[in-house]
Amino acid sequence: MFTAIANWWGSLPAELTWSLATIGQIMAFVVPLLLSLAFLLLMDRKVWAAVQMRKGPNTVGAFGLLQSFADFIKFVVKEIVVPAGADRPLFLLAPLLTFVFAFITWAVVPVAPGWVISDINVGILYIFAISSLGVYGIIIGGWASNSKYPFLGSLRSAAQMVSYEVSIGFILVTVLLMAGTMNLSALVEAQGGGFWNWHVLSLDMLPWPTFLITIPMFVIFFISALAETNRPPFDLPEAESELVAGYQVEYSSTPYLLFMIGEYLNIVLMCALMTVLFFGGWHAPFDFAPFTWVPPVFWFAIKVVFFFFMFAMVKALVPRYRYDQLMRLGWKIFLPTSLAAVFVMGAIVVYTRNAALGG
Protein backbone atom coordinates (compact mmCIF):
# COMPACT_ATOMS: atom_id res chain seq x y z
CA MET A 1 0.00 0.00 0.00
CA PHE A 2 2.60 2.53 1.13
CA THR A 3 5.06 1.52 -1.57
CA ALA A 4 2.30 1.92 -4.18
CA ILE A 5 1.65 5.45 -2.95
CA ALA A 6 5.39 6.16 -2.83
CA ASN A 7 5.81 4.90 -6.40
CA TRP A 8 2.89 6.95 -7.65
CA TRP A 9 4.31 10.03 -5.81
CA GLY A 10 7.74 9.42 -7.35
CA SER A 11 6.28 9.15 -10.84
CA LEU A 12 4.91 12.70 -10.65
CA PRO A 13 7.08 15.52 -12.07
CA ALA A 14 9.60 16.82 -9.52
CA GLU A 15 8.31 20.40 -9.68
CA LEU A 16 4.80 19.27 -8.81
CA THR A 17 5.81 17.07 -5.87
CA TRP A 18 8.12 19.80 -4.54
CA SER A 19 5.35 22.40 -4.74
CA LEU A 20 2.79 20.11 -3.10
CA ALA A 21 5.21 19.11 -0.33
CA THR A 22 6.07 22.75 0.38
CA ILE A 23 2.42 23.77 0.46
CA GLY A 24 1.79 20.87 2.85
CA GLN A 25 4.62 22.06 5.11
CA ILE A 26 3.28 25.59 5.07
CA MET A 27 -0.18 24.38 6.06
CA ALA A 28 1.37 22.25 8.81
CA PHE A 29 2.86 25.48 10.19
CA VAL A 30 0.02 27.93 9.60
CA VAL A 31 -2.88 25.93 11.00
CA PRO A 32 -1.33 25.09 14.41
CA LEU A 33 0.00 28.65 14.57
CA LEU A 34 -3.46 30.17 14.07
CA LEU A 35 -5.05 27.73 16.51
CA SER A 36 -2.47 28.43 19.20
CA LEU A 37 -2.86 32.14 18.49
CA ALA A 38 -6.54 31.90 19.38
CA PHE A 39 -5.65 30.54 22.83
CA LEU A 40 -2.69 32.90 23.29
CA LEU A 41 -5.07 35.80 22.69
CA LEU A 42 -7.34 34.44 25.37
CA MET A 43 -4.35 34.00 27.69
CA ASP A 44 -3.35 37.62 27.07
CA ARG A 45 -6.81 38.79 28.13
CA LYS A 46 -6.96 36.40 31.10
CA VAL A 47 -3.57 37.55 32.42
CA TRP A 48 -4.55 41.14 31.97
CA ALA A 49 -7.82 40.49 33.78
CA ALA A 50 -6.13 38.63 36.62
CA VAL A 51 -3.75 41.53 37.28
CA GLN A 52 -6.74 43.86 37.50
CA MET A 53 -8.62 41.34 39.69
CA ARG A 54 -11.28 40.68 37.07
CA LYS A 55 -12.35 37.34 35.62
CA GLY A 56 -11.79 38.12 31.96
CA PRO A 57 -13.75 36.35 29.21
CA ASN A 58 -15.57 33.44 30.89
CA THR A 59 -18.90 32.81 29.16
CA VAL A 60 -18.13 31.31 25.71
CA GLY A 61 -17.10 27.71 26.26
CA ALA A 62 -15.63 26.37 29.51
CA PHE A 63 -13.59 29.16 31.20
CA GLY A 64 -14.14 31.25 28.06
CA LEU A 65 -11.94 28.92 26.02
CA LEU A 66 -13.92 29.54 22.85
CA GLN A 67 -13.95 33.34 23.24
CA SER A 68 -11.43 33.91 20.43
CA PHE A 69 -13.47 31.80 18.02
CA ALA A 70 -16.62 33.72 18.90
CA ASP A 71 -14.75 36.99 18.29
CA PHE A 72 -13.50 35.61 14.99
CA ILE A 73 -17.02 34.83 13.79
CA LYS A 74 -18.23 38.22 14.96
CA PHE A 75 -15.51 40.04 13.01
CA VAL A 76 -16.01 38.01 9.85
CA VAL A 77 -19.78 38.44 9.57
CA LYS A 78 -19.68 42.21 10.14
CA GLU A 79 -19.86 44.69 7.28
CA ILE A 80 -16.63 46.12 5.86
CA VAL A 81 -16.84 49.90 5.97
CA VAL A 82 -14.51 51.83 3.64
CA PRO A 83 -14.46 55.59 4.34
CA ALA A 84 -15.67 57.75 1.43
CA GLY A 85 -12.40 59.67 1.03
CA ALA A 86 -10.17 56.63 1.43
CA ASP A 87 -7.83 55.21 -1.20
CA ARG A 88 -9.81 52.00 -1.58
CA PRO A 89 -7.19 49.52 -2.95
CA LEU A 90 -4.49 50.67 -0.55
CA PHE A 91 -6.95 50.78 2.35
CA LEU A 92 -7.70 47.09 1.83
CA LEU A 93 -4.10 46.20 0.95
CA ALA A 94 -2.68 47.47 4.26
CA PRO A 95 -4.17 44.82 6.62
CA LEU A 96 -3.33 42.13 4.07
CA LEU A 97 0.32 43.26 4.07
CA THR A 98 0.50 43.14 7.87
CA PHE A 99 -1.08 39.69 7.88
CA VAL A 100 1.13 38.23 5.14
CA PHE A 101 4.41 39.66 6.44
CA ALA A 102 3.58 38.34 9.90
CA PHE A 103 3.19 34.85 8.45
CA ILE A 104 6.09 34.62 6.01
CA THR A 105 8.67 35.33 8.70
CA TRP A 106 7.78 31.98 10.23
CA ALA A 107 9.21 30.23 7.16
CA VAL A 108 12.69 30.19 8.71
CA VAL A 109 11.87 29.67 12.40
CA PRO A 110 12.95 26.17 13.51
CA VAL A 111 10.56 24.77 16.13
CA ALA A 112 12.27 21.37 16.47
CA PRO A 113 15.23 19.62 14.80
CA GLY A 114 14.45 19.70 11.06
CA TRP A 115 11.00 21.21 11.61
CA VAL A 116 11.44 24.30 9.49
CA ILE A 117 9.93 25.20 6.12
CA SER A 118 13.03 26.81 4.62
CA ASP A 119 16.40 26.22 6.26
CA ILE A 120 18.22 29.08 4.47
CA ASN A 121 21.70 30.13 5.53
CA VAL A 122 20.79 33.82 5.90
CA GLY A 123 17.90 33.10 8.28
CA ILE A 124 18.62 35.95 10.69
CA LEU A 125 18.89 38.45 7.85
CA TYR A 126 15.63 37.15 6.40
CA ILE A 127 13.81 37.67 9.69
CA PHE A 128 15.31 41.13 10.05
CA ALA A 129 14.35 42.00 6.46
CA ILE A 130 10.76 40.85 6.74
CA SER A 131 10.19 42.37 10.17
CA SER A 132 11.38 45.69 8.76
CA LEU A 133 8.59 45.42 6.19
CA GLY A 134 5.89 45.12 8.85
CA VAL A 135 5.82 48.90 9.15
CA TYR A 136 4.29 49.22 5.67
CA GLY A 137 0.93 47.80 6.69
CA ILE A 138 0.66 50.47 9.36
CA ILE A 139 1.90 53.39 7.24
CA ILE A 140 -0.25 52.53 4.24
CA GLY A 141 -3.27 51.86 6.45
CA GLY A 142 -2.87 55.20 8.19
CA TRP A 143 -2.41 57.14 4.98
CA ALA A 144 -5.10 55.40 2.95
CA SER A 145 -7.72 56.05 5.64
CA ASN A 146 -7.55 59.74 4.69
CA SER A 147 -8.23 60.76 8.25
CA LYS A 148 -6.21 62.71 10.79
CA TYR A 149 -5.84 60.32 13.72
CA PRO A 150 -4.81 57.32 11.61
CA PHE A 151 -2.30 59.49 9.76
CA LEU A 152 -0.71 60.78 12.97
CA GLY A 153 -0.62 57.23 14.31
CA SER A 154 1.07 55.88 11.20
CA LEU A 155 3.69 58.65 11.22
CA ARG A 156 4.49 57.87 14.84
CA SER A 157 4.76 54.17 14.19
CA ALA A 158 6.99 54.65 11.14
CA ALA A 159 9.51 56.59 13.21
CA GLN A 160 9.20 54.24 16.17
CA MET A 161 9.64 50.99 14.28
CA VAL A 162 12.55 52.28 12.19
CA SER A 163 14.28 53.50 15.37
CA TYR A 164 14.00 50.27 17.32
CA GLU A 165 14.92 48.13 14.33
CA VAL A 166 18.41 49.59 14.52
CA SER A 167 19.09 48.31 18.01
CA ILE A 168 17.41 44.96 17.24
CA GLY A 169 19.75 44.66 14.26
CA PHE A 170 22.83 45.21 16.40
CA ILE A 171 21.62 42.66 18.96
CA LEU A 172 21.13 40.13 16.17
CA VAL A 173 24.71 40.83 15.06
CA THR A 174 25.96 40.17 18.60
CA VAL A 175 24.22 36.81 18.70
CA LEU A 176 25.34 35.71 15.26
CA LEU A 177 28.92 36.67 16.13
CA MET A 178 28.72 34.30 19.10
CA ALA A 179 27.35 31.41 17.05
CA GLY A 180 29.34 32.20 13.90
CA THR A 181 26.35 31.42 11.69
CA MET A 182 23.22 33.08 10.34
CA ASN A 183 21.35 29.80 9.93
CA LEU A 184 18.77 29.59 12.71
CA SER A 185 18.90 25.78 13.03
CA ALA A 186 22.68 25.88 13.40
CA LEU A 187 22.26 28.72 15.87
CA VAL A 188 20.03 26.55 18.05
CA GLU A 189 22.32 23.53 17.65
CA ALA A 190 25.20 25.65 18.98
CA GLN A 191 23.28 26.12 22.25
CA GLY A 192 22.72 22.44 23.05
CA GLY A 193 23.83 20.49 26.12
CA GLY A 194 22.10 22.25 29.02
CA PHE A 195 20.77 25.67 29.97
CA TRP A 196 24.25 26.97 30.83
CA ASN A 197 25.11 26.79 27.13
CA TRP A 198 22.15 28.93 26.08
CA HIS A 199 23.31 32.22 24.64
CA VAL A 200 21.82 34.25 27.45
CA LEU A 201 24.22 32.60 29.91
CA SER A 202 26.81 31.20 27.49
CA LEU A 203 28.96 29.70 30.25
CA ASP A 204 30.68 27.58 27.58
CA MET A 205 32.50 30.77 26.59
CA LEU A 206 34.18 30.89 30.03
CA PRO A 207 36.64 32.20 31.18
CA TRP A 208 35.18 35.00 29.06
CA PRO A 209 32.17 36.35 30.99
CA THR A 210 30.05 36.87 27.86
CA PHE A 211 26.87 36.70 29.93
CA LEU A 212 27.76 40.21 31.08
CA ILE A 213 27.00 41.20 27.49
CA THR A 214 24.24 38.79 26.55
CA ILE A 215 22.00 39.33 29.58
CA PRO A 216 21.77 43.11 29.00
CA MET A 217 21.41 42.40 25.27
CA PHE A 218 18.46 40.12 26.02
CA VAL A 219 16.81 42.80 28.16
CA ILE A 220 17.30 45.37 25.40
CA PHE A 221 15.95 42.90 22.85
CA PHE A 222 12.87 42.29 25.00
CA ILE A 223 12.14 46.01 25.34
CA SER A 224 12.88 46.67 21.66
CA ALA A 225 10.55 43.82 20.76
CA LEU A 226 7.80 45.54 22.76
CA ALA A 227 8.43 48.74 20.81
CA GLU A 228 8.74 46.96 17.47
CA THR A 229 5.40 45.22 17.87
CA ASN A 230 3.66 48.36 19.17
CA ARG A 231 2.83 46.68 22.44
CA PRO A 232 2.20 48.64 25.64
CA PRO A 233 4.07 50.55 27.07
CA PHE A 234 5.11 51.55 23.55
CA ASP A 235 1.70 51.39 21.82
CA LEU A 236 1.90 55.04 20.79
CA PRO A 237 0.70 54.40 17.22
CA GLU A 238 -2.68 53.46 18.65
CA ALA A 239 -2.58 55.38 21.93
CA GLU A 240 -6.30 55.51 22.64
CA SER A 241 -6.06 58.48 25.00
CA GLU A 242 -4.41 60.66 22.34
CA LEU A 243 -5.16 59.18 18.92
CA VAL A 244 -8.41 57.25 19.54
CA ALA A 245 -6.91 54.05 18.06
CA GLY A 246 -4.26 55.42 15.72
CA TYR A 247 -3.96 53.73 12.36
CA GLN A 248 -6.85 51.36 13.14
CA VAL A 249 -9.53 54.04 13.63
CA GLU A 250 -11.24 53.57 10.25
CA TYR A 251 -10.93 49.79 10.15
CA SER A 252 -13.77 47.43 10.92
CA SER A 253 -14.69 43.79 10.51
CA THR A 254 -12.28 41.48 8.62
CA PRO A 255 -9.59 44.09 7.76
CA TYR A 256 -9.38 44.96 11.45
CA LEU A 257 -9.21 41.26 12.28
CA LEU A 258 -6.29 40.87 9.85
CA PHE A 259 -4.48 43.77 11.54
CA MET A 260 -5.04 42.20 14.94
CA ILE A 261 -3.94 38.71 13.90
CA GLY A 262 -0.84 40.19 12.24
CA GLU A 263 0.00 42.15 15.35
CA TYR A 264 -0.34 39.18 17.68
CA LEU A 265 1.52 36.92 15.27
CA ASN A 266 4.40 39.41 15.32
CA ILE A 267 4.38 39.30 19.10
CA VAL A 268 4.53 35.50 19.09
CA LEU A 269 7.31 35.72 16.50
CA MET A 270 9.31 38.01 18.76
CA CYS A 271 8.81 35.50 21.61
CA ALA A 272 10.00 32.72 19.28
CA LEU A 273 13.02 34.82 18.31
CA MET A 274 13.98 35.35 21.95
CA THR A 275 13.69 31.58 22.41
CA VAL A 276 15.82 30.79 19.36
CA LEU A 277 18.44 33.50 19.81
CA PHE A 278 18.93 33.52 23.56
CA PHE A 279 17.16 30.59 25.22
CA GLY A 280 18.31 27.55 23.28
CA GLY A 281 15.31 27.07 21.00
CA TRP A 282 14.03 23.50 21.21
CA HIS A 283 16.73 22.34 23.67
CA ALA A 284 15.74 21.05 27.10
CA PRO A 285 17.28 22.89 30.07
CA PHE A 286 19.08 19.68 31.12
CA ASP A 287 20.61 17.13 28.79
CA PHE A 288 19.62 13.97 30.70
CA ALA A 289 16.82 11.46 31.07
CA PRO A 290 13.50 12.91 32.26
CA PHE A 291 14.02 16.12 30.30
CA THR A 292 15.05 14.51 27.03
CA TRP A 293 11.90 12.35 26.97
CA VAL A 294 9.81 15.46 26.30
CA PRO A 295 9.65 16.18 22.56
CA PRO A 296 11.74 19.22 21.49
CA VAL A 297 8.77 21.09 20.04
CA PHE A 298 7.23 21.11 23.53
CA TRP A 299 10.27 22.86 24.99
CA PHE A 300 10.11 25.39 22.19
CA ALA A 301 6.41 26.03 22.77
CA ILE A 302 6.74 26.35 26.54
CA LYS A 303 9.50 28.94 26.20
CA VAL A 304 7.46 30.92 23.68
CA VAL A 305 4.42 30.84 25.95
CA PHE A 306 6.56 32.00 28.88
CA PHE A 307 7.77 35.04 26.93
CA PHE A 308 4.23 35.72 25.79
CA PHE A 309 3.22 35.71 29.45
CA MET A 310 5.94 38.28 30.12
CA PHE A 311 4.57 40.44 27.29
CA ALA A 312 1.09 40.21 28.80
CA MET A 313 2.39 41.13 32.26
CA VAL A 314 4.22 44.16 30.88
CA LYS A 315 1.02 45.27 29.19
CA ALA A 316 -0.84 44.96 32.46
CA LEU A 317 1.74 46.61 34.71
CA VAL A 318 3.57 49.39 32.88
CA PRO A 319 2.12 52.83 32.02
CA ARG A 320 2.52 54.19 28.50
CA TYR A 321 5.69 56.04 27.52
CA ARG A 322 5.69 59.58 26.21
CA TYR A 323 6.78 59.84 22.59
CA ASP A 324 9.97 61.86 23.10
CA GLN A 325 11.00 59.53 25.94
CA LEU A 326 10.52 56.59 23.60
CA MET A 327 12.79 58.14 20.98
CA ARG A 328 15.36 59.09 23.61
CA LEU A 329 15.42 55.52 24.92
CA GLY A 330 15.86 54.06 21.45
CA TRP A 331 18.49 56.38 20.02
CA LYS A 332 20.43 57.59 23.04
CA ILE A 333 20.49 54.50 25.26
CA PHE A 334 19.77 51.29 23.33
CA LEU A 335 21.67 52.16 20.16
CA PRO A 336 25.02 53.06 21.83
CA THR A 337 24.73 50.12 24.25
CA SER A 338 24.06 47.54 21.56
CA LEU A 339 26.76 49.03 19.32
CA ALA A 340 29.28 48.73 22.15
CA ALA A 341 28.14 45.14 22.70
CA VAL A 342 28.79 44.30 19.04
CA PHE A 343 32.26 45.79 19.37
CA VAL A 344 33.17 43.90 22.56
CA MET A 345 31.66 40.64 21.34
CA GLY A 346 33.54 40.93 18.07
CA ALA A 347 36.80 41.44 19.97
CA ILE A 348 36.09 38.38 22.17
CA VAL A 349 35.26 36.20 19.17
CA VAL A 350 38.39 37.27 17.30
CA TYR A 351 40.55 36.65 20.36
CA THR A 352 39.10 33.24 21.26
CA ARG A 353 39.18 32.01 17.65
CA ASN A 354 42.82 33.04 17.31
CA ALA A 355 43.65 31.43 20.67
CA ALA A 356 41.94 28.21 19.53
CA LEU A 357 43.98 28.25 16.33
CA GLY A 358 47.14 28.63 18.44
CA GLY A 359 47.78 32.10 17.00
Binding site: E15, W18, S19, D87, L90, I120, N121, V122, L125, Y126, F128, A129, I130, S132, L133, V135, Y136, I139, I140, W143, F151, L155, A158, A159, V162, E165, G169, M182, D324, R328
Partner: protein, 202 residues
Protein backbone atom coordinates in the same frame (compact mmCIF):
# COMPACT_ATOMS: atom_id res chain seq x y z
CA UNK B 1 11.16 25.15 -14.73
CA UNK B 2 10.07 26.65 -11.42
CA UNK B 3 13.15 28.88 -11.49
CA UNK B 4 12.36 30.10 -15.00
CA UNK B 5 8.77 30.81 -13.99
CA UNK B 6 9.96 32.69 -10.91
CA UNK B 7 12.40 34.68 -13.03
CA UNK B 8 9.71 35.76 -15.49
CA UNK B 9 7.26 36.61 -12.72
CA UNK B 10 9.81 38.69 -10.78
CA UNK B 11 11.13 40.51 -13.86
CA UNK B 12 7.63 41.20 -15.19
CA UNK B 13 6.66 42.70 -11.83
CA UNK B 14 9.91 44.67 -11.70
CA UNK B 15 9.46 46.17 -15.17
CA UNK B 16 5.78 46.87 -14.64
CA UNK B 17 6.28 48.55 -11.28
CA UNK B 18 9.26 50.55 -12.58
CA UNK B 19 7.02 51.89 -15.34
CA UNK B 20 4.25 52.61 -12.84
CA UNK B 21 6.69 54.64 -10.71
CA UNK B 22 6.83 57.09 -13.62
CA UNK B 23 3.22 56.88 -14.77
CA UNK B 24 1.41 56.79 -11.42
CA UNK B 25 -0.45 60.05 -10.84
CA UNK B 26 -0.37 59.82 -7.07
CA UNK B 27 3.16 60.23 -5.66
CA UNK B 28 2.44 57.93 -2.72
CA UNK B 29 1.46 55.16 -5.13
CA UNK B 30 4.62 55.90 -7.14
CA UNK B 31 6.74 55.30 -4.03
CA UNK B 32 4.81 52.10 -3.29
CA UNK B 33 5.52 50.87 -6.83
CA UNK B 34 9.18 51.76 -6.30
CA UNK B 35 9.13 49.54 -3.22
CA UNK B 36 7.57 46.74 -5.25
CA UNK B 37 10.34 47.16 -7.83
CA UNK B 38 12.99 46.89 -5.07
CA UNK B 39 11.27 43.81 -3.77
CA UNK B 40 11.19 42.01 -7.10
CA UNK B 41 14.83 42.97 -7.67
CA UNK B 42 15.57 41.22 -4.37
CA UNK B 43 13.74 38.17 -5.74
CA UNK B 44 15.95 38.24 -8.85
CA UNK B 45 19.06 38.42 -6.63
CA UNK B 46 17.92 35.28 -4.82
CA UNK B 47 17.47 33.48 -8.15
CA UNK B 48 21.06 34.45 -9.00
CA UNK B 49 22.23 32.85 -5.74
CA UNK B 50 23.11 36.19 -4.14
CA UNK B 51 20.90 35.83 -1.08
CA UNK B 52 23.00 38.19 1.06
CA UNK B 53 22.59 41.03 -1.44
CA UNK B 54 18.88 40.31 -1.67
CA UNK B 55 18.40 40.52 2.11
CA UNK B 56 20.49 43.68 2.37
CA UNK B 57 18.48 45.24 -0.45
CA UNK B 58 15.27 44.53 1.41
CA UNK B 59 16.61 45.66 4.80
CA UNK B 60 18.28 48.87 3.64
CA UNK B 61 16.19 50.06 0.71
CA UNK B 62 12.75 48.63 1.38
CA UNK B 63 12.91 48.63 5.17
CA UNK B 64 14.60 51.95 5.82
CA UNK B 65 15.18 54.25 2.83
CA UNK B 66 11.77 53.75 1.22
CA UNK B 67 10.03 54.22 4.57
CA UNK B 68 11.62 57.66 4.84
CA UNK B 69 10.67 58.36 1.20
CA UNK B 70 7.09 57.45 1.96
CA UNK B 71 7.23 59.48 5.13
CA UNK B 72 8.23 62.61 3.21
CA UNK B 73 5.91 62.09 0.25
CA UNK B 74 2.89 61.41 2.46
CA UNK B 75 3.34 64.74 4.21
CA UNK B 76 3.56 66.75 0.98
CA UNK B 77 0.52 68.79 0.09
CA UNK B 78 0.36 68.15 -3.64
CA UNK B 79 -1.59 70.09 -6.23
CA UNK B 80 -1.95 67.75 -9.22
CA UNK B 81 -2.91 70.50 -11.70
CA UNK B 82 0.25 72.40 -10.86
CA UNK B 83 2.34 69.26 -11.30
CA UNK B 84 1.07 68.69 -14.82
CA UNK B 85 1.39 72.34 -15.84
CA UNK B 86 5.12 72.35 -16.59
CA UNK B 87 5.06 69.29 -18.83
CA UNK B 88 5.48 71.01 -22.22
CA UNK B 89 8.46 73.26 -21.47
CA UNK B 90 10.34 70.55 -19.55
CA UNK B 91 9.67 67.82 -22.09
CA UNK B 92 12.77 68.54 -24.22
CA UNK B 93 15.28 68.56 -21.35
CA UNK B 94 13.61 65.55 -19.74
CA UNK B 95 13.60 63.64 -23.01
CA UNK B 96 17.31 64.39 -23.56
CA UNK B 97 18.26 63.11 -20.10
CA UNK B 98 16.11 60.02 -20.54
CA UNK B 99 17.63 59.15 -23.92
CA UNK B 100 21.20 59.51 -22.58
CA UNK B 101 20.31 57.16 -19.70
CA UNK B 102 18.72 54.69 -22.14
CA UNK B 103 21.86 54.80 -24.30
CA UNK B 104 24.09 54.04 -21.30
CA UNK B 105 21.86 51.11 -20.33
CA UNK B 106 21.89 49.64 -23.84
CA UNK B 107 25.67 50.05 -24.18
CA UNK B 108 26.39 48.38 -20.86
CA UNK B 109 23.93 45.67 -21.85
CA UNK B 110 26.04 44.97 -24.98
CA UNK B 111 29.19 44.66 -22.89
CA UNK B 112 27.66 42.22 -20.40
CA UNK B 113 25.51 40.29 -22.83
CA UNK B 114 27.89 37.33 -22.93
CA UNK B 115 27.73 35.40 -19.66
CA UNK B 116 31.21 33.87 -20.08
CA UNK B 117 32.91 37.22 -20.61
CA UNK B 118 30.95 38.51 -17.62
CA UNK B 119 32.48 35.75 -15.48
CA UNK B 120 35.93 36.70 -16.80
CA UNK B 121 35.33 40.36 -15.96
CA UNK B 122 34.78 39.56 -12.28
CA UNK B 123 37.60 40.98 -10.16
CA UNK B 124 37.34 37.99 -7.82
CA UNK B 125 35.83 34.70 -9.02
CA UNK B 126 33.11 33.08 -6.94
CA UNK B 127 34.76 30.42 -4.76
CA UNK B 128 33.36 26.91 -4.66
CA UNK B 129 31.84 25.40 -1.55
CA UNK B 130 31.76 28.61 0.47
CA UNK B 131 28.49 30.27 1.41
CA UNK B 132 27.68 33.52 -0.28
CA UNK B 133 27.89 35.54 2.94
CA UNK B 134 31.25 34.09 3.96
CA UNK B 135 32.74 34.70 0.50
CA UNK B 136 31.53 38.30 0.42
CA UNK B 137 32.71 38.91 3.97
CA UNK B 138 36.17 37.50 3.25
CA UNK B 139 36.45 39.76 0.22
CA UNK B 140 35.18 42.96 1.84
CA UNK B 141 37.02 42.64 5.14
CA UNK B 142 40.23 41.29 3.69
CA UNK B 143 41.02 42.44 0.19
CA UNK B 144 38.96 45.62 0.11
CA UNK B 145 39.07 46.54 3.79
CA UNK B 146 40.55 49.99 3.13
CA UNK B 147 37.86 50.92 0.59
CA UNK B 148 35.18 49.55 2.87
CA UNK B 149 36.39 51.62 5.82
CA UNK B 150 36.76 54.72 3.63
CA UNK B 151 33.20 54.33 2.34
CA UNK B 152 32.02 54.09 5.94
CA UNK B 153 33.98 57.22 6.80
CA UNK B 154 32.42 59.13 3.89
CA UNK B 155 28.97 58.15 5.13
CA UNK B 156 29.88 59.22 8.66
CA UNK B 157 31.07 62.63 7.41
CA UNK B 158 27.86 63.03 5.41
CA UNK B 159 25.79 62.16 8.46
CA UNK B 160 27.63 64.57 10.74
CA UNK B 161 27.38 67.23 8.03
CA UNK B 162 23.62 66.82 7.84
CA UNK B 163 23.33 67.09 11.61
CA UNK B 164 25.54 70.19 11.74
CA UNK B 165 23.54 71.88 8.98
CA UNK B 166 20.20 71.36 10.69
CA UNK B 167 21.21 71.71 14.33
CA UNK B 168 20.42 75.04 15.89
CA UNK B 169 20.01 76.06 19.48
CA UNK B 170 17.25 78.54 20.09
CA UNK B 171 16.96 80.51 23.28
CA UNK B 172 13.78 80.41 25.27
CA UNK B 173 12.87 76.87 24.26
CA UNK B 174 12.12 74.69 27.26
CA UNK B 175 13.76 71.30 27.02
CA UNK B 176 13.53 68.34 29.32
CA UNK B 177 16.80 67.44 30.99
CA UNK B 178 16.36 64.03 32.61
CA UNK B 179 19.62 64.29 34.53
CA UNK B 180 18.56 67.58 36.06
CA UNK B 181 15.11 66.22 36.91
CA UNK B 182 16.41 63.16 38.64
CA UNK B 183 19.04 65.04 40.63
CA UNK B 184 16.60 67.65 41.85
CA UNK B 185 16.29 67.62 45.63
CA UNK B 186 13.40 68.64 47.83
CA UNK B 187 15.50 71.38 49.41
CA UNK B 188 16.18 73.00 46.02
CA UNK B 189 12.59 73.82 45.31
CA UNK B 190 10.47 73.62 48.42
CA UNK B 191 10.63 76.31 51.05
CA UNK B 192 8.52 76.09 54.18
CA UNK B 193 7.34 79.47 55.32
CA UNK B 194 5.56 80.20 58.55
CA UNK B 195 3.07 82.88 57.57
CA UNK B 196 1.48 85.08 60.21
CA UNK B 197 -2.28 85.56 59.77
CA UNK B 198 -3.15 88.63 57.69
CA UNK B 199 0.43 89.42 56.61
CA UNK B 200 1.29 87.46 53.45
CA UNK B 201 4.81 86.46 52.36
CA UNK B 202 5.84 89.69 50.62
Amino acid sequence: MLQAAAFYIFSAIAVFSALMVVFAKNPVRAVLFLILAFFSAAGLFILLGAEFLAMILVIVYVGAVAVLFLFVVMMLDIDFAELKAGFAENAIVGGAVASVLALVLVLSGFIWVDANSAQANLAAPTPEGVSNVAALGALIYDRYVLFFQLAGLVLLVAMIGAIVLTLRHRDGVKRQDMHKQVNRKREDSVEIVDVEPGEGIG
